[in-house]
């Protein structure tokens, strides 16, 4: 992963609708994707993760409106482009050649009445008009074989392929022009777990070969931790935390991330009761004041209900950000949110070293837990049984 930035989203605000009824779907979001990086965007439905990315690429459909911020793309050659200033023709050139897209359901993302060949080559024809028909065909064959599909499938229609094959075709399509960024919006959610794994492994290989960056959108944080370099977590339209994947897993800094992590039952170890997060995600039209997560947060204190925390650097390293007052010097963070980070210089070794000690999610916790002070009394008040959660 190089530090070379590729796609920079700054303070992006996206509304659905306009005027007094507008719903603020994304508020003030900052995301930076670097060359060759796999950046995971995690969040539940309605958290605005897809909205953010689709708006940044100007593909968000009505009634979506961008109401603030800036999005810049730094192509490999040429100067940076302000995507919010660009018109259709400027975007047309950038689309697919720089930024391509894989959506959740390949059944819907492939045109049902056109052959795989047409759909694999149409972008080539549009962007590289000098290519001959034979060239395009050869490229289509190459692309299909790259994702492990026999080229005799070129004449097939989407309905003749299995779900996994369709998603592979989508990936081949997305790589047709060797883009810098591939946006993947829940690319494997609709697939069975084995197929999902196969495709993820293939994706990893392709990324290693071709070096594109991936913006991977999913609600499945446990999956993301396995495949992403860095993870940004969204809640109610806001980014609440961003960190390298292993650091986020071992030592989350935002209570929502902590809650999400403890919502995935582990595959190993003793079975212990887990609590998830009480309550349900807020209605975007009636957001709570202050920090949007505070009604569900067991660590919330007075300030949280009043003022929204900014997304700010937490701790020593620059690549950890969180939007939480607990981390911004207003008092020591509770133990669960102050776990020691794995050594990031040797991520693999560190992960290996901690595999028995495990994460913060109710499993055996690692060493030094600072004695909680200040906050915990309130925290205790908020430690409610799960059932209470649904009174939203």
């Amino acid at each position: 992963m190089s530090g070379d930035r590729l796609l920079e989203i700054r303070g992006l605000c996206v509304d659905y609708g306009h005027g007094p009824d507008a719903v603020h779907a994304v508020t003030d979001a900052d995301v930076v994707l670097h060359r060759g990086e796999v950046l995971g965007l995690a969040g539940e439905s309605g958290s605005g993760k897809s909205t953010l990315v689709m708006a940044a690429t100007r593909l968000l459909r009505p009634p979506g409106v961008i109401t603030g911020g800036a999005v810049r793309l730094y192509p490999a050659v040429g100067t940076e482009v302000d995507l919010l200033e660009a018109d259709y023709d400027v975007l047309r050139v950038l689309r697919w050649s720089q930024v391509s897209l894989v959506l959740q359901s390949a059944m819907n993302a492939l045109n049902p009445v056109m052959t795989i060949r047409v759909q694999l080559t149409d972008a080539l024809a549009a962007h590289q008009p000098h290519l001959s028909r034979q060239d395009r065909h050869a490229r289509a064959v190459e692309l299909l074989e790259m994702v492990g599909i026999n080229s005799d499938r070129l004449s097939s229609h989407p309905h003749e392929l299995s779900g996994g094959m369709r998603q592979r075709v989508m990936i081949a399509m997305a790589l047709a022009l060797q883009p810098q960024v591939v946006i993947m919006d829940e690319p494997t959610t609709a697939l069975d777990v084995v197929t999902q794994r196969e495709i993820l492994e293939e994706l990893k290989d392709l990324r290693d070969q071709l070096g594109f960056a991936i913006l991977f959108i999913t609600h499945d944080l446990s999956l993301l931790i396995e495949i992403a370099d860095a993870i940004a977590v969204m809640y109610a339209g806001r980014l609440v935390e961003r960190a390298p994947a292993s650091a986020l897993f071992r030592a989350p800094r935002h209570p929502y991330t902590l809650g999400l992590l403890s919502s995935f039952p582990p595959l190993h170890g003793p079975r212990t009761p887990m609590t998830g997060i009480p309550g349900s995600p807020p209605d975007l039209r009636a957001l709570p004041s202050g920090c949007v997560f505070h009604p569900r947060c067991r660590f919330a204190f007075d300030k949280c209900a009043v003022q929204a925390p900014p997304l700010a650097v937490v701790g020593a390293s620059n690549d950890r950000l969180a939007a939480c007052w607990l981390q911004l010097g207003d008092g020591p963070a509770p133990a669960e949110l102050a776990l020691r980070e794995p050594d990031l210089t040797e991520p693999t070794a560190s992960a290996n070293g901690t595999q028995t000690s495990s994460g913060p999610t109710g499993r055996p916790a690692p060493t030094e837990r600072p004695a909680p002070t200040g906050v915990p009394e309130r925290a205790a008040d908020h430690e409610e049984p799960v059932q209470q959660g649904s009174t939203a």
Binding site: E44, S45, S162, G164, D192, V193, V194, T195, Q196, R197, E198, E201, H219, D220, L221, S222, L223, I225, E226, F249, G259, L260, L261, S262, S263, F264, P265, P266, L267, H268, G269, R271, P273, M274, T275, G276, I277, P278, G279, S280, P281, R296, A351, N352, Q355, S358, G359, P385, V386, Q387, Q388, G389, S390, T391, A392
Partner: protein, 383 residues
């Protein structure tokens, strides 16, 4: 499989038992768009083998999880157990008695066996409010003596699913509730008749991640407090491990493995279960995943002979194509329909997926990490 599924030292009463349950759906000449279906005569033509010869027993105060990929027949199984569809073969025993088709018996059955469906956005009728949804079971089964009695009972059942105060929910329409609240209303409706068996078909897969555990914990709580026998259908093996006492793994309409939940997930004996576990998301995974048995499930219309997993199985042997494997014991009430276990406890099933040969899982209860190595040794000699 004729061998009893559960040999566990589990002495709670068996409430609902399925023996050799089978469901074949006729294949319709359905063509999307223009065509209409052609009526097919019974007994002729190809069939979809949705569920083939599945036996299971649901016991009081126990959660039995059925795990499998889409198309494995797990939802069909739940619908068979709920009486929504009639089996092609096999029988369903409620308290040891076979189910009859009369309206009277059907109602009795409904009073004992209830079901919660997958999608809370679809399982509540958008035009009726919560009060209506919850009043119907009481009215259908004549359980309320008066209006006041009914209201009291509805409030009580809402309280049991932690939707309090009940008044705040009674007159809400489904679209005014969140996904988790809707699923709780659906569970409340199922609980209204005070059933003893609850079938839950992927009850949390459509819910937001952060509220899934709340619903799972509610189910666990009902199991303990009401002695409910719960069937938990899921494709998420981790949640099955979290909630269930027993796990049944289904593949292509058949039961391939079953046993105590932790035992099955920690020492899977069937190659398919091993595949499922290696594919499941696991943040704690350290080394690269090696899938053993990639590919797709077989055609449900013409399933392969013998073991249906054999075409994907890394250990397939000649016998796998010849005979359907029976359920072989794998220790502690854990059984697996795999010929590898025929040889006894020196089965290579577990070691195949471990980098270092580990003690055979079947004879050991120690927790073996399912994936600890990259390359499985060549099993040629061991076969």
């Amino acid at each position: 499989m004729t061998t009893p599924t559960l040999d566990a030292p589990d002495m709670t009463a068996t409430l609902l038992e399925a023996r050799g349950l089978t469901k074949h759906f006729p294949v319709h000449g359905a063509v999307r768009g223009a065509g209409r279906r052609v009526a097919r005569r019974r007994g002729s033509g190809p069939v979809v083998h949705a569920v083939d010869d599945v036996s299971l027993a649901l016991r009081a105060a126990r959660v039995t999880a059925v795990v499998g990929e889409s198309g494995s027949g797990k939802s069909t199984l739940a619908r068979l157990l709920a009486g929504l569809i009639t089996p092609t073969a096999g029988e369903l025993l409620l308290d040891g008695r076979a189910m009859a088709r009369s309206r009277r018996r059907r109602l009795d059955y409904a009073k004992t066996v209830q079901m919660v469906l997958q999608d809370p956005f679809a399982s509540l009728n958008p035009i009726h409010d919560v009060h209506y949804h919850l009043s119907r079971p009481f009215k259908v089964h004549g359980l309320a003596r008066s209006g006041a009695d009914l209201d009291g009972k509805i409030a009580a059942v809402l309280e049991r699913v932690a939707l309090t105060p009940a008044d705040a929910y009674l007159h809400k329409y489904p679209h005014e509730l969140s996904g988790g609240q809707r699923q709780r209303v659906a569970i409340a409706r199922a609980l209204a008749v005070q059933p003893r068996v609850l079938l839950a078909d992927e009850p949390v897969s459509m819910l937001d991640v952060s509220i899934r555990l709340g619903v799972l914990n509610l189910l666990a709580d009902l199991r303990d407090s009401e002695q409910l026998a719960i069937l938990y259908i899921t494709h998420d093996i981790a949640s099955a491990r979290y909630l269930a006492d027993t796990i049944i793994v289904m593949y292509a309409g058949q039961e391939v493995e079953s046993g105590p939940a932790v035992h099955v997930t920690d020492t899977p004996a069937h190659p398919y279960t091993q595949l499922l576990l290696s594919a499941a998301p696991d943040p704690e995974r350290v080394t690269a995943v090696t899938l053993r048995g990639a590919g797709a499930p077989p055609s449900a219309v013409a399933p392969p002979s013998g073991c249906r997993f054999r075409l994907r199985c890394p250990h397939a042997m000649p016998i796998c194509a010849e005979r359907v494997p029976p359920a072989f014991p794998a220790g502690d009430g854990h059984v697996s329909a795999c010929w590898l276990l025929d040889a006894g406890p020196k089965s290579p099933a577990v070691t195949t997926r471990a980098g270092t040969p580990e003690p055979p899982a079947v004879s050991s209860c120690q927790l073996v990490r399912p994936i600890t190595g990259e390359d499985a040794p060549d099993l040629g000699e061991e076969r």
